[in-house]
């Protein structure tokens, strides 16, 4: 039992070993099973940073789940931390690990090679300075290697170093390495990668990982770790760029203080500097740079601060403060590159949410210029984008935003797309440049107003949007409603799906992309008619919630009345007025709603008509009663 305090353990290590080369964020990527996780595990193990209990846990796990044979450690098990990963022997999602040498600190993201999980690789790559691209020496460069190289280059990862792994399985043969290195050089020049280097390694045996391997005397370059310790880091470059500050949060503790909190995305700022707020283009000067530790004279890229300006401007979250002499661009039409990350395909014309820096707003992909073939990097025509596909697209926004090209500034040019119904992050995007169309296309000023037109007709203009399965009775009910409204002296117009397809939408088929466009046009036409003061009855299967939402969003509050004509599929199929169900069942019609294409029932329609429970006439009366109650 110790009664007195024993002397503290002596150590002369300095308290803060500030690694001279700072912090490097990197990823491992490449095809499935090429040894990415093993490599990270090996680096952690060799850096002597693993703790005793972690090593004994690894020994235990290697015995139970190891893929490396009796008595060998399976280093991948250090990194593949999910139960499902251990069981399946693959990486599913990114693992973030931390290690340090006396030269540098590292944050490494081990990404999955499996194509299905490409979006998780994108997640890892988006914050990386450097990518270690692995190939299996026996396989060489394969499609997935190319895809990952492409994505890394696209996201602006500066340095890509190739690790030719499993050299132990090809007898450490120099020729094998040379051949793969040559393939990589070709790939690198196609992708315009600035820094490329190839290293022959064996992650399993530890050859050329943290020190030169005696097994490969013909290789005289640096080991992987030596390379990582000295590779250039990107963070300091942001300081040299023009000042950008996305306003994140308006800091208003009381009436006498109004500050704008955020991180300096690039450049520097000092008290007294002029700034410009975009997109409003109002200018002011920096009065104070406030921080918890006291006011600062200046701040630079990467720092989180709160700026107080000289003037009371109306600035809010999502605005971009920038240097007036070197300002960001402003536009509402863009060329951008998208990496699609959702199981549901991208549909041009559908409304998504875009989040760029701290700003979120609705956007549509107005057209897909071309997709990229991941094997040849050639441009190919595309009408939609499916999971893991990459394309250049035109984006269209409802309002102008400030931005920089992604190439110049990742933080003011990189965005995500969000599905408005599922809230999923469906794409990562990189802005390239503004399409000047926005400035040229001035909307014709309208002299007679919409309320005046409505007043002339003595009615409240609206859209009654009938949705439901084919044969559910939409048109029957809509026709009855029109007759009854007409009899009351209202001005109405019916837009029927079948009829519109014969004229305006003659060029469209039945793929998901065409269906979206079909509805977009009908919604726009309906909007013009509402503008003209009419009551518009649209009768249209419109199976997708998001398209109906898009139509709703086009109208003003209260103008859009969604009428769900709810008839069970069995009933519709039994009726089969047009004989379409029979054909669909026989496989003669593809993408038929209810059969091999989904119908997403409305969840909050203004009117829910159950056609099995009442006559068409009674249902029409219900619609009229609703309209009467609303005016």
């Amino acid at each position: 039992m110790s009664q007195r305090q024993p002397a503290a353990a002596a150590s002369d290590a300095p308290l803060f070993v500030d690694a001279p080369n700072g912090l490097l964020r990197f990823i491992t990527c490449g095809s499935v099973d090429d040894g990415k996780s093993t490599l990270i595990g090996r680096l952690l193990y060799d850096s002597k940073l693993l703790l005793d209990d972690q090593v004994s846990a690894l020994e235990l796990a290697s015995k139970r789940f190891g893929t490396t044979g009796e008595g060998n450690l399976d280093f991948a098990l250090l990194v593949d931390g999910l139960q499902a990963e251990v069981e399946q022997g693959i990486t599913i999602d990114v693992a973030y690990r931390f290690f340090a040498t006396d030269k540098r600190k590292f944050i490494v993201a081990d990404t999955p090679g499996h194509e299905q999980y490409t979006r998780n690789m994108v997640t890892g790559a988006s914050t990386a300075d450097l990518a270690v691209l692995l190939v299996d020496a026996r396989q060489g460069v394969v499609t997935q290697t190319r895809r990952h190289a492409y994505i890394a280059a696209l996201l602006g990862v500066r340095t890509v170093v190739m690790a030719v792994n499993k050299m132990d399985l090809v007898d450490y043969d120099e020729d094998v390495f040379r051949q793969i290195r040559a393939d990589f050089a070709g790939l690198a020049s196609l992708l315009n990668l600035a820094q490329t280097h190839a290293i022959p390694v064996s992650a399993l045996k530890g050859d050329n990982i943290s020190s030169q391997a005696p097994t490969m005397p013909w290789y005289t370059g640096p080991s992987l770790l030596e390379f990582l310790e000295t590779a250039p880091q990107t963070q300091s470059d942001f300081t040299r760029q023009p000042f950008r500050f996305p306003v994140q949060w308006v800091n208003r503790p009381h009436l006498d203080f109004r500050g704008y909190s955020g991180c300096v995305a690039s450049g520097q700022i000092a008290v007294g500097d002029a700034i410009l707020a975009l997109p409003s283009a109002k200018s002011s000067t920096v009065k104070r740079i406030v921080s918890f530790d006291g006011d600062m004279q200046r701040a630079r890229a990467g720092q989180a601060v709160t700026l107080v300006l000289d003037d009371e401007l109306d600035i809010s979250r999502g605005d971009l403060l920038c240097a007036p002499k070197d300002r960001a661009e402003v536009s509402d039409q863009f060329m951008a590159t998208l990496v699609w990350m959702d199981e549901k395909p991208l549909l041009p014309g559908r409304s998504y949410l875009m989040k760029l820096a701290t700003k979120t707003l609705p956007t549509t992909v107005s057209s897909i210029k071309h997709a990229i073939n991941i094997n040849s990097f050639e441009k190919t025509a595309a009408k939609t984008l499916t999971l893991n596909e990459i394309a250049e697209v035109n984006l269209s926004l409802e309002t102008e935003i400030a931005f920089d090209a992604y190439e110049e500034n990742h933080q003011t040019g990189g965005f995500i797309l969000i599905d408005r119904m599922t809230n999923a992050t469906v794409a990562a995007g990189m802005l390239s440049f503004a399409l000047r169309r926005a400035q040229n296309l001035h909307r014709q000023a309208l002299n007679i107003s919409k309320p005046q037109r409505a007043e002339q007709k003595g009615q409240k203009p609206r859209v009654l949007w009938f949705t439901g399965l084919s044969g559910s009775g939409k048109s029957t009910v809509a026709n009855l409603v029109e007759q009854k409204l007409f009899a009351e002296g209202h001005h109405c117009m019916i837009l029927d799906g079948d009829n519109v397809r014969h004229g305006l939408n003659r060029d469209l088929g039945f793929t998901d992309a065409d269906r979206v466009e079909n509805i977009r046009r009908i919604a726009e036409v309906a909007k013009l008619m509402v503008e003209a003061g009419l009551i518009v009855l649209v009768s249209f299967i419109s199976p997708f919630r998001s398209e109906r939402r898009m139509a709703r969003d086009l109208m003003e509050e209260g103008e859009f009345v969604e009428v769900f004509v709810d008839t069970p599929l069995e009933v519709c199929e039994q009726r089969d007025v047009k004989g379409l169900y029979a054909k669909a069942r026989a496989g003669e019609i593809k993408n038929f709603t209810g059969i091999d294409s989904p119908y997403e029932a409305p969840q909050d329609a203004e009117l829910h008509l159950k056609s099995a429970e009442a006559s068409a006439d009674a249902l029409a009366d219900k619609v009229l009663a609703y309209l009467a109650a609303q005016t």
Binding site: S11, A13, G81, D93, Y96, F98, T123, C263, T306, A428
Partner: protein, 387 residues
């Protein structure tokens, strides 16, 4: 023109250095511009400007009625000014980077979510997280309450510290204890794993549901454990607070998608990329108060299954033949006292702790009996809604 030695004397003065710095950045400032950062009289500033002019470092020009100053060609050659420019361009230290990243996450979540809360477990990570939050929203008060899930088995010193901190920063602290657990008298000795389920996991879920919080900040770090290393900064939990590790939302750059579906909530982890050593170095650098239990002292302990358990109050049932002995110990991690193992240590200063950290051969979770009851237990707990 003065010689080198004189130049050093001229540069020795902080006010004159600052004037040069400002002129390097903004040539053509007036005397009143230059004087703004200082609380000195006009004549005093004039004297400094005169010295700078006489030394040949600064030149003046008359522009209508204003006297404007700029650096001379000679000043531009000074190494010191070149260094200054270099320094302004140097990358931030890694602690500064981590700090800014965490603050960014907190602000983003607060700006976009409607009812945030910060989990406050009183430990060192919570202390750092709270400190970062105070920085993130300064000079505003914390825009969210703190939530402590009190199992009633925390160390007494933790509770005292918690109440002190709440008072010092004028925090809105909510304390929640499982009503069922309290009623049934659930304790760590008789109920084992069930104790953790009821008093921690279920209590946390009940508290979040009770207040309707849509996002909870937690101090978890990715270096703590393998399944945490897999988790996003924003971790989405479906109904029942369940984590779905195979279907995590992509998290690109630092652009967070915080949109939640019905019944979905978020756990936000601003300390994701910090390591245990980073935490301690930051505590030292920022002088952040922590519970005294982290420092070594003589404390009454008993040894059980290789763990040193502190006899914090009379509720700890002593087994036959067990007598508490006084030993020099401290804690690397804090939880419920009967479940938290101490380590033998002499480190009674922050410096001592960091030094011990640098040579440590075991991970901090060693001391937590709760994580060791089965392999992959942390992932399982997360699946069930524990942090």
């Amino acid at each position: 023109m003065r010689n080198e030695a004189d130049i050093h004397a001229v540069l020795a003065d902080p006010i004159r250095r600052r004037v040069l710095e400002d002129l390097a950045r903004n040539p053509g400032l007036t005397a009143s511009d230059l004087g703004e950062p200082f609380e000195i009289s006009k004549p005093a500033l004039s004297r400094h400007l005169k010295i700078l002019e006489e030394s040949g470092l600064v030149e003046r020009e008359i522009d209508r009625q204003f006297r404007r100053f700029r650096l001379s060609a000679r000043a531009e050659t000074l190494d010191w000014l070149a260094d200054l420019r270099m320094q302004a361009l140097a990358p931030l230290s890694h602690l500064d980077q981590l700090e800014a990243e965490s603050i960014h996450t907190m602000r983003e979540v607060v700006a976009e979510m409607s009812n945030p809360v910060m989990m406050y477990s009183i430990g060192k990570d919570s202390s750092v997280m709270l400190h970062l939050a105070l920085k993130a929203f300064y000079p505003s008060k914390l825009p969210f309450p703190l939530l402590h899930i009190d199992t009633t088995w925390k160390f007494r010193e933790m509770i005292a510290f918690r109440d002190q901190v709440a008072e010092r920063y004028d925090l809105d602290l909510r304390i929640f204890t499982s009503p069922d657990g309290k009623a049934e008298g659930i304790n760590p000795f008789d109920h084992g794993a069930h104790y953790t389920d009821v008093m921690k996991t279920a209590a946390l879920k009940q508290a979040l549901d009770h207040y309707g919080f849509d996002v909870a900040f937690g101090g978890a770090r990715r270096d703590e454990e393998k399944s945490r290393a897999k988790e996003r900064v924003l971790s989405f939990r479906s109904k029942g607070h369940v984590w779905n590790p195979k279907g995590q939302r992509p998290e690109i750059w630092n652009v967070f998608n915080t949109r939640v579906n019905k019944n979905e909530t978020i756990r936000a982890f601003p300390l994701s990329n910090w390591t245990e050593l980073d935490i301690w170095q930051y505590i030292v650098r920022e002088n952040i108060p922590i519970v005294p239990l982290y420092f070594a002292a003589r404390r009454p302990v008993v040894e059980r299954d290789g763990a040193l358990i502190m006899v914090d109050d009379e509720r700890l049932p002593l087994e036959a033949g067990e007598t508490p002995e006084q030993r020099w110990v401290r804690f690397r991690t804090l939880g419920c006292y009967p479940l938290t193992g101490a380590i033998e240590s002499q480190a009674d200063t922050l410096e001592g702790i960091v030094r011990e950290m640098q040579v440590a051969r075991t991970s901090e979770r060693q001391g937590r009996l709760i994580d060791q009851d089965q392999s992959a237990s942390m992932e399982k707990k997360k699946l069930e809604g524990y942090f």
